[in-house]
Structure formats: structure tokens, C-alpha cells
Symmetry: C2
Subunit: 152 residues, 2 copies
Amino acid sequence: MNEPTAVPPSLLDLSTYLLSRTGKTARARLAERLADRGLRLWHMAVLAALTDFGPHVQRDLAVRLSVDPSDIAKVVDELAAAGRVDRSRDAADRRRIRVTATDTGRALLRELQDEAEAVQAELLAPLSRAERTQLHGLLRRVFDGTPSGPDD
Amino acid sequence: MNEPTAVPPSLLDLSTYLLSRTGKTARARLAERLADRGLRLWHMAVLAALTDFGPHVQRDLAVRLSVDPSDIAKVVDELAAAGRVDRSRDAADRRRIRVTATDTGRALLRELQDEAEAVQAELLAPLSRAERTQLHGLLRRVFDGTPSGPDD
DNA sequence: CAATACAGTGGGTGTGCACCCACTATAGGT
DNA sequence: ACCTATAGTGGGTGCACACCCACTGTATTG
């Protein structure tokens, strides 16, 4: 008689819970698709930053994405090995490494964005187009209002 | 001139990204509060299941919460040590262990729910009450429509 | 009563993630 | 020239999480 698969309503009543749960599946599904290409989420984030804001010194990438510089180095290294970004020493300050997205890098980003939208379509299937827009707007405001703490 | 802290719009345009991000902070903030009490999210989930659906055999808890039976054992063990649940052998089938929430266990759950709502209030501060309800409804439908895969 | 199945449990493994330190090369100040 | 600060990098640590196996007790079946 007890459907042993039902999730406790005490939890379902918490937006916190729903947010965390759906967020986790969203992340997992996207990560899975990226993994099929041998990529992780940071690769996508780095490509996005380079494409949106132009070339970055590695340190600035680290600041923008709130990642440890040492971890950025590894991600950039992998992207460079795959020809998705170029690295070049800054002539004025030879300590700095300027990272630029290549054409194939930008093309890759577009593909990854398509993957993300596919995941989205799958996940948000229960919602109408208008509702998806609504959800996006609400999430966006929540995100913008969230002081980027150490837990982002 | 480049504000090096701005997040790439390519990412912000993806609901997938916003969901994953906000979900992550929601989870992290709640987890942090629970950690202050020496608890983890599973403790709360177990208490919720027991309170909402009554006593469970451990195996059913595992099924309901989609956790490995061996991990449930550990969580239940800790809750029992703190007097939040009772364990008793099923007389009919002495292999089974029946887990029941104690009064203090249910009281603890109420406190944890308060913590969760506090986190929620903090996180959803940018939204009006009506918008929070709206968000909750949308998330709920997304959640319900998500076939609980291996990635939840 | 033998053989098989199942509940619970202890212990271990692998993975992803965030973080941190030590070291180099280079700049910049005085 | 020296001294200090900074960019990048290689390597490692700690943690949370999910997963899995071996083993003990108990039930069930024929």
C-alpha cells in the first residue's frame, strides 16, 4: 500500500529542495554530454568567457570564473592541446599568458550551447514556452541577487 | 574597463546554468546549516520520510530515497545514536529493522525545516511572495516530470 | 535439513571538486 | 644591482558523494 518510491512531501514543499534537486540533474545531464566529448563544465565556461569578453590573461579568467588560477591553467592547457584556444605570451609583460578562443573553439562553444539547450528542452518539457521564459526570468533575478559567496 | 567579475552572458542565457548554479548555492547553504548541528542532508531526508510516511524497514528507506542500503545504515545509525529514531527488529521477520522517528526526531525535523525556510527566504529575497509561489510551482512541475534517472 | 535468497552492515574504492603550497620566470621599485 | 611582488604551473591534500563487495544473520523453499 505504501508506494515506497514517493518522495517525502516535507521535502517537496521546500523550494530549496526542488532547486537543489533539479539543479543537480541539470548539471549532471549537461556534464554527461560534455563527458562524451572528453570535456568538463569548466571547459565550456572558459570558452564562453573568451567568446563573450574576448581574450583574457589567465589570471583574469580565474577571477571571472571564481576558480583557482592553478585549475584554470589545467583547463586552458587541455583546450590548447585540442586547438580550441591559443596561448601567447604578452609582449609587454612576459609573465602573462594571453588566451584567445580559436575559430574551432568558438564553433565548439556553439555546439556545447546546443547540447545545453537540448538538455533544457528535455528537462523543462513539462513547461510551456511562456513558462520557461518565466522560470528563466525568476532564476535570473535570484541569481543576480545572490552575493557570490564562497559557495557558488 | 572590463569588469573582470561579470559572468559570461552565454552561460546566463542557459536556464540549465542558472538552475545548476542556484541549486548549488541552495544546497550548499542548507548543508552548511546542517553541518553546524553535525548533520548532513541525508539525515534530514530520512527524518522527513519517517515523519511523512511513518516507520520504515531500512530497505524501503533506501528505495524511497534512492540511496544505497549500506549508506542508509550509516545515517540511521547516527540518528539512533542521537536518539532521533528508534530501531527495532521486526518480530515477524527478524532480518528486518524497523526504523521509527522519535518525538525528538520529529522536533528536529521541524527545526531543520525552519532552517531550510530561512535559507529560502535569504535566497529568494529578490522575489515577491507571489513570485516565490510561482517559482515553486514551476520547479515542482519540472521535478515531477523528471524521470528519476541515475543522476538524481 | 540442505540450498538458496534476502536484510543489514562494515569496509573499501573511485571520482569530482575545491583548495593550497612550492617553485620558476618575469616585472617593478628604489 | 637588489628586493619584493606577481603570473603561471605542477603536484599534492581533503572532502563529499556514490558505489560496491564480503560477510553475518535470518527466512524460505523443496
